[in-house]
Structures are given as structure tokens and as C-alpha cells.
Amino acid sequence: MISPPWLTRERPRALLLDHGGVIVRSRKRAEAIDEVAELVAERLRRAGAVELPVHRIAEDLAAAKSAYRAWKTGNGRARTVPEVSHRDYWLDLVAADWPPAARALVAAEATPLCRALVEASSSKRLGPGIVELLDWCRTVGIRIGIVSNTLLGDVNRTLARQWGTLGHFAVQVHSDEVGIRKPDPEMILIATRALGIDPGQAWFVGDNYDKDVLCARRAGVGASVLMRLSTDRDPGACPQPDLNVADGFELRDALAATGAEQKEGAA
């Protein structure tokens, strides 16, 4: 699974991890849109200016989700890729055709509404082997960063605090906070600059081809790693990662292998 050239590569000084699909595994919650639609309807009732039927809000939330996905895919072709702001998500993607009062409300409450959307959208747990990976990296002195596309980075931070993993992350780059998103290479370069290292001294690990593998290539990291089950991989995708792993265990083993080779070489 690990191609031989990797055994001779230098151990990276830092490991940059995607959040969704790498650090956490998510299970989608089908009821998310209806729950958030109900919340928005309730907020509109409380504001007392205009009411919208819950099904209309749900339709617009679903349309926004599709439009956001399409927008992200299209923008991924460009080298500089902006992230949508919380306000623009609601004003442009959800509520463009709502009455002015409803638009003003969701614009003012955009950040808490994005939080509600992200929290409702899936249930999240730490990915397999991640705790072991983080612990191992700590013992060998590889610093860890997060480089994540997200509507609300603070949700990831809150999860890390709950799981006790927050202290493992030396730097966290979340797209909504820095205003750009992967595959903009600047996402990774922010992290390597903060760590004071060259991009070539870092590995980047993500779970998809068109954002993560591409972003890693553009940034010129030491290794672009794709974390996916072997059954989910796409040999036709371009570009391909330097290394494929299924989970945190395999990633740790790959890192350990580079270290062993390095030691032998040094001896």
C-alpha cells in the first residue's frame, strides 16, 4: 500500500490534517434541514415582522446547500478560492428572495444560524486511529495543524475541547475564519508560515481529490496524502496523492516507516 519511494523520504516536521473525513467521521442527519427550518421560522415569528411557511424555508435551505456545493466545485478550478461569509451564505444562497425583514433577520443572526446548520447537519466522532496518531506524533515531535473548509470553524474547536484533543493542534486554519478555502494553496501556506517551516517539510492529509489533493499539490507540500477506504478510491482522478491511507493507524505507520528509514540512513 505504501509505495517504496516513501520509505526513503524525510520525516515531516509537521502534519496538516483536514477535519471532516480525517480527524472526524460524520454521519449525515437527514432531519437537519427541517430542524433548522423550524428554528428560522421560530426566529421570524419572534421578530414579528414577516412569517414564512416552514416548508418554504426548508426548500430554500436545501437549495442553498446544493448551490453552495456547486459554487464550491466551480470555484475549485481557480487558484484563489474565496470562502463564503456567514452573512452571504444566508443573504445570497438561502434568503435572496425572502422579504426584506426576513433577510435582515437572518443576516444579523447569520453566525449563530450557521452554527445551528453545522451542528444539525451531522453527528461527528473522532476517526479511527486519530487519537493514536496524535499521541504518536507528540512523542516523536511532529507538530500537527488543522486545515479545514468549514462554515464554522468554532464548531471544530468546540469538539476538540470536548474530546480533549485541542492541545494537540499547534495551528488551526478554518476557511470561514480566514476567508479563503481549499484548494487555495494559501490555506496550507498559512499553516506552514505559522509553523515557521517550508511547505516541503509538511505532509497534508485530506479525504478528497479535487480540494485536498489538489491543494496539497499547489502548496508544494512534502507529501499529499489521501485518507480513504481502498474501495472508495478513484484511480482515474487527477492529480493523484503521493500516498493513500485508510485511517489514522495507516497514516501513523507510514510516518513511522519514514522515521525508521531515516534512522537507518543516519546510522
Partner: protein
Amino acid sequence: MTTAQPTLVCPRALLLDFGGVIVETVHRPTWADELAREVYDQLLACTDQVPKPERVRDDIVAGAAAASAWKNAMSRPMHPAEMSARQYWGDYVATDWPAAARELVLAHALPLAKRQGELRSERHQRRGVIELLDLADALGVRVAIVSNALSGVVHRDWMTEHGLDQRVALEVYSDEVGLRKPNPEMIWIATRALGIEPEEAWYVGDNFDRDVVCGRRARVGGTILMEAADTYRRPYLVHDQPDAVVADPVGLRDLLADTGQIAPATGGRP
């Protein structure tokens, strides 16, 4: 103590500042040391290019002082924008730090702003807030928060912890909307969301150069000054005067009761 103009009529909405109106803000003198320690620890965990701990602390204090001066100046323009957390950390605090250290606080600007908001002040609910909200409910007057904030989420969290988030229609925070008072748009966001004209709202704040000026610019039906610790410490001459001055939420409740034809409370609930 309440001094009211006879022209005030019961509003359809009450727009309240957060600090000085909902809460009394007590400065925590240890905030800079505590925040500096956290920032320094984050820097140490991330990079070799770390300024000395004293430098981190001094620049956090200097940044706050400079931003405070900037905020005072920003009460002069008609349409001031809010400073982003990234500008604050990149330009006001860490400008001359080593590149990696500056990059880290830029990447972490939002959580750092939140942490600063949490550490800098203690917040105590002002006397009479619940009674004020109860009366507003009884009169059918909707309530919204309109507040300048370094980190609005700190205010939102406080509102939630105290069960007040459910009692207001919306909360408008400068860092989230990218504008700051006295930009009248801060108030107009709230009146638009409530579907009313500015003339149908009262705006209540605790200082002259941000709040009274903002109420006047937005042409609200009542610009109310609520006295708090720094109310009369004006950065420079401010011409605008409020329509009424109240000492605290109890006074505001009485003023509202007066215009809403409900007998003022005499020391307790009606």
C-alpha cells in the same frame, strides 16, 4: 431618576445596547497577563519564532490602547466599519512580531478575540432587566440588542447562559455585521428585521459618542441614554443630547410604563 421629554411615545420596539444597559461591565485588571500567557503558550507550541513573553504582553496592552483610540476616532465618521479580528491581531498587536508568530495570531484571530472578550470583563446583569423585558412583553414591544462588540459571540453566550436570548427578537453585533455604532445602519438592520420604521423604535445606550449619536443619525423615535460607569467620560465634545436619561433598567422600565400608560413600579413588580 428619569427625565423625559413629553414627546416620547410608546415604541413598537426597544433596541438595547448590551454593555452598560443589559449588563454592567467590570474591567478585569489581570486580563492582559492571562491572555498574554495563553498566546505565548500557543506560540511556543507552534513555532520557534516566538517573541519574549513580556513583549507579547506589552503588545497586547498597546494593541488594546491603540484600538480604543481608533474606536473613539470612529465615532466621527457617518459610516464607520468595524475592525476585524484579523486586523486587530495583525495590525494592532503583532505587527512587529516574527513572521511565524504574526501568522499564527492572524490564523487564530477569531478565537483570540473571543478569549479576549471573555477575559477582559466581568459582566453582571443590571438591576431591573427582567422587569423591563416583562413590561415590554406585556405592552407588545419587541426587543433587540444593538451592540458594538469585539466578539459578539461572547455577548451571545452570556445572553444564552442567562436565558435572555429567548427574550429578544435578534442581536446585532458590530463584529458580525462589519459595521459599528454610530453607523446608523446598525440600528436600521434591527428595525428592518422587525419590519418597523426607525421612528417607531427607541434606542437605548450608555454613551454619547457611540449611542446618542447613533440614535440621532438613525432618526429613532426615542434616543435614551442609560447611565453607566463611563457615560460622562466623553472622548470629545458631542453635540447630540438624548430625549431622556435613565439611571438603569428600572428607570427605563418606568419611562416605558409612563408612555405605555402603565403605572410605574414603585420599588417592585407591578
